[in-house]
Symmetry: C2
Subunit: 349 residues, 2 copies
């Protein structure tokens, strides 16, 4: 199996349904939340899957646990992983659960919360460089030295399948509530979560959208080019969405399935962060809030709101699902974003 | 029926089970959440009932809806209520749902968030004084002028029963998880919620504790005196816990049923607020965080932690339920408390 195989053959290895079944009872079935103020702003019924409440603080726990669990069952004694933070935390926690050794590689400018979580889980933590290339290099070296397999943060079928289980649960819950999803929106880092979402909606009429910070838009550029295109990531408060290139396997899944990519700026992410905090009453990390920022941008653009031109859908309110992917954020950033909210409210009041 | 009847006769009118049944499907069945860091600090399994995610932002929605629903069914065309905020919001929202007129009276120093929520629900909002006596006076006058009944914030059997339904759900969920509660902890304002909790645990071996801010300890003083004793409420960040006196009906329920009262200071409430925000990933208002502050104080005192001396319980981990009663808080207070957290962590690191 090649993780960068664009032919579609590798996709057959991604079983979102199996991952959802395996993870049932092993991860938290996080609640689906709503807030009237968010519905009003979106002009739609917005169902938020609160994966910020997941064990380890993000939906990365799903892919990490599913992948590491399979490696443990296959007899491996350890694993190696790299990420900007949440995947590393997930792999560290998963390794502890299955009693495997874990080495995780994070950037030197990683969120201290994420480094602390990975260390608390008992993993060996290596801080290396600031780019994904630097981290991948040291990850491959450690894997070669130890013989432990690499659990890639998104270019891995079990990781994509695991992340997709969050979308499976959201789709099921929306149907149980009698309001099936019309659209499903997720933030994009390496593309694993949104690829899992595209597989989770199979057989249903649900449009899937990815959200990228402006200047970190490898997926949008890749879709335009027809092949994975790296970018030099621009600065963003969404630290988890900075990979320089969408993964080859996620791209193979996404290119014929994704409805579109929405670009958002840090102000929009901050607005979404504040809405989630003050209206939904939950703490998202900026990367997690980016999904809602994208849903609101889509609504403003008329693509996803109540005014969408989707034929029979015009007279009923649309239902938009958003996976709130994580909540590992620094206290000082919380304070800064919350304070900004107050000032803006005063200015606009 | 007298709301201040201490004889126990009035208690017979409080049907928590009926309220829970009636409210099922009419309010959100809020999730029960946990965080490893909170369990470690408490030395116990801490199950937090996230009523900050409830419609209207607090568990007061339960009592407000149940009481107003019954008044609507009885043919009343309007209602009047007073509170520091959340009960007023709840009555306003409930009145809108049943298409009744509502006038709510809040203090002039009420949290702007709560005033805005009550106004957004379509209620006539009166801001009057700073004490409960001032609010009660104008509430009685409005009731006399309009003929609309008063929905008291805690001295009302349906309000107590409705608030108690949050405890019913938490008790049920703990049993479903296979970890039945050993203790149940709630903050105390007028005592309605904790009285409902005492009725909700009927027939089970669950110790119920109330939590009061230091200097706002009318319940503790009343239990010591054997009768409701008012206090001149001290300043506290827990704006919802400032009533000057426990209600007569709650007191009648509590005096033979409550295991104890815990006093906490603002620093402990702020610590609990930060734990809820940064570890549980949810936004509580200080009054809502006070329940967790009390549970941690109990654990520190050895009354509720793993080291509790409860016979057969010594070798198994205790399970402590906490009703996280509300989440309506100002953005500037969030910023202030989150920043304080960072500074303290740096100091103690």
């Amino acid at each position: 199996m090649s993780h960068t195989d664009p032919s579609g053959a590798a996709e057959a290895l991604i079983d979102v349904t199996e991952a959802a079944r395996w993870l049932d009872g092993r991860v938290l079935r996080t609640p689906v939340l709503r807030a009237p103020a968010i519905d009003r702003l979106a002009g739609a019924r917005v169902l938020l899957k609160a994966e910020n409440l997941q064990a380890g603080g993000s939906y990365k726990m799903r892919g990490g646990l599913f992948a590491v669990g399979r490696l443990a069952a296959a007899g491996h004694a350890g694993v190696v992983a790299q990420s900007t933070g949440n995947h590393a935390v997930a792999v560290a926690l998963a390794a502890r659960r299955f009693e495997l050794a874990a080495t995780v590689v994070l950037p030197v400018d990683a969120a201290p919360t994420k480094v602390a979580l990975a260390r608390a889980a008992g993993a060996s933590v290596v801080l290396m460089g600031t780019t994904v290339e630097e981290r991948l290099s040291v990850t491959r070296r450690i894997s070669a030295e130890t013989g432990y397999p690499i659990v890639d943060a998104y270019d891995h079928p079990d990781v994509i399948a695991g992340q997709g289980s969050a979308s499976v649960e959201l789709i099921e819950e929306a149907e149980r509530l009698g309001t099936p999803l019309d659209a499903l929106v997720l933030p994009v880092g390496g593309g694993g979560g949104v690829a899992g979402a595209c597989l989770a909606v199979a057989g249903r009429q649900i449009e899937v959208y990815g959200v990228e910070p402006r200047g970190c838009d490898s997926l949008a550029r890749s879709l335009a080019a027809g092949r994975p295109v790296p970018v030099a990531p621009a600065p963003t408060i969404a630290d988890g969405l900075r990979p320089s290139c969408v993964g080859g396997l996620p791209f193979a899944v996404l290119r014929d399935r994704l409805r579109g990519v929405v670009r958002v700026d840090d102000d929009e992410i901050a607005d979404a962060f504040r809405l989630l905090l003050m209206e939904l009453k939950v703490l998202a990390e900026p990367s997690g809030a980016a999904g809602l920022a994208g849903a609101l941008r889509l609504a403003a653009d008329g693509a996803s709101g109540a005014g969408g031109a989707s034929g029979a859908g015009e007279r009923r309110q649309r239902t938009v699902g958003v996976v709130l992917t994580g909540g590992n954020v620094e206290a000082d950033l919380v304070a800064r974003l919350a304070t900004t909210a107050r000032v803006e409210e005063e200015v606009t009041a």
